[in-house]
Symmetry: C2
Subunit: 288 residues, 2 copies
């Protein structure tokens, strides 16, 4: 079955789904996106994703392309037409098509909206992945990484460095020597005292939805969470480390810049958080 | 006459010219571009533009979509089919279409290439524009602005701030308080001693082709050029200020953050440089 995309009001096969070359998303990276997990046909944390989507649009002064209920109806259709049981839905909104290339914009343009979906195996209820490798790189991104924009060139270059180094992710380090986040995930460590540490949300990182979920689940489980920046040296000396994202879930990091973290195996706190997150997703799936 | 675009081997009306929604240019801002001026059907400084284009591609590990002569043949066609006598040609190359969204990339993808053109009145031989206003904003861009990438979201936001302030351009200021460049142009001042000052090319600014031309013309005319960074305060106290770019040419700046520069009129050095650049372009046009 060929995948079906939603593009500006129409459902079309992915291979035929297109946007005009003068779409400002193509010319200026003038747009935003969201990726939402689907578990047993149910969206995971749609409220938080939609809230962040509307915020990203507002920050860029891009008008809302449709109402919240209309967006959700399209999401439902895209899930149905792609027969997604477990997987992800991707949505991208750009400022729209401007026939004349001009950096400045009108705030009254008609935004473009694209939505796609893909099936994966049931990710969450699988076993947690083995530990992955991470490398560190300088954070060369712009200063508004809190906006989930499609201006992702530094992220893809960073991810490529990781890939070429045989690593899963690259952790980006700011000019003060602190880790900001991964190229497509938030970064966490567990200290020798068992405290969970992750960078507070400011303009330097994206407020990950999985990050938010994990904080809530960890708090409920009585774990101590400290939102503060940490260095690569601190991470190397940590008991455990892991990343979170919609697609990575909770993924243990066991090697950082070639040094082993902890005993080189996924740690117990990471395992616990993965289990809590899996259960949380199972509950969402059961609400079907 | 509807404008004609070149898109991946085909010449199509602009309104019908499209790219797949999974083009990495659309999803990740994974691409580069160039804008070249056309004067009397002749390209202005094509060697320098092409050199920069190949460099931008190499920096991003995007394969060359076609040979240099083939690119020039397409450029010629796009100029001819759009009947451009004076105007601009725009070309954009992205890493191409990837059906699965993954930050990391294959270095063997087939790049997408788009080319458009538009007619303008004969820009260069017109009179120099009146002085324009500039506002200053923090430079929030990534740290590889030497690559002419389509990851332009901070630039368009900056230009919008300028527009909303009734200004022509925004000059971006780095964390040390020095002007980097405009959102789509290079920044210059003329000191009380008549010295031309513009920021040296590093990773913080784009090596503008018009900037390069002006340096060559100014040197030939016996002017003193100093490549160093300057502050907003220094610019306000300068005798003259101006911006250069392919579309702005040499444009006098007579107001900066509400303060008048010099006597509030375009200065004599700026006028001289405009005249030299106009003559340089006229010569290119005569070579037809």
């Amino acid at each position: 079955m060929s995948r079906i995309a939603y593009v500006n009001g129409q459902y079309v096969p992915n291979a035929e789904a297109s946007v005009n070359i003068n779409d400002r998303g193509y010319v200026f990276a003038d747009g935003i996106y969201e990726v939402i997990a689907v578990t047993k046909r149910q969206l995971v944390d749609p409220e938080w994703h939609m809230q962040r989507l509307w915020r990203s649009l507002a920050e860029l002064q891009i008008p809302e392309p449709m109402s919240d209920p209309a967006m959700r109806a399209v999401m439902k259709q895209v899930i149905r037409r792609n027969r997604v049981r477990n997987g992800f839905i991707y949505m991208q909104i750009t400022r729209g098509v401007a026939q004349v290339r001009d950096h400045a914009f009108s705030t009254e343009m008609r935004p473009s909206i694209v939505m796609t979906a893909r099936n994966t195996k049931a990710v969450v209820t699988d076993e947690m992945s083995d530990g992955v490798k991470v490398v560190s790189i300088p954070d060369i991104r712009w200063k508004r990484c809190d906006i989930k924009s499609i201006s992702l060139l530094p992220n893809i270059l960073g991810k490529q460095i990781a890939k070429e180094a045989g690593a899963y992710e690259a952790w980006m380090v700011d000019e003060e020597g602190f880790v900001t986040e991964g190229t497509s995930s938030n970064a966490w460590i567990v200290t020798k005292d068992g405290e969970l540490v992750t960078r507070p949300t400011d303009h330097a990182i994206l407020r990950g939805i999985t990050r938010t979920s994990i904080i809530a689940l960890a708090e409920k489980a009585g774990l101590t969470i400290i939102e503060r920046a940490f260095t690569i040296e601190e991470a190397k000396a940590a008991k455990e480390a892991f990343v979170t994202s919609t697609t990575s879930l909770v993924k243990p990091v066991t090697e950082l810049d070639g040094d082993i973290i902890g005993n080189g195996q996924p740690g117990s706190v990471t395992e616990k958080l993965f289990a809590l997150y899996a259960a949380y997703n199972d509950d969402i799936g059961k609400s079907a």
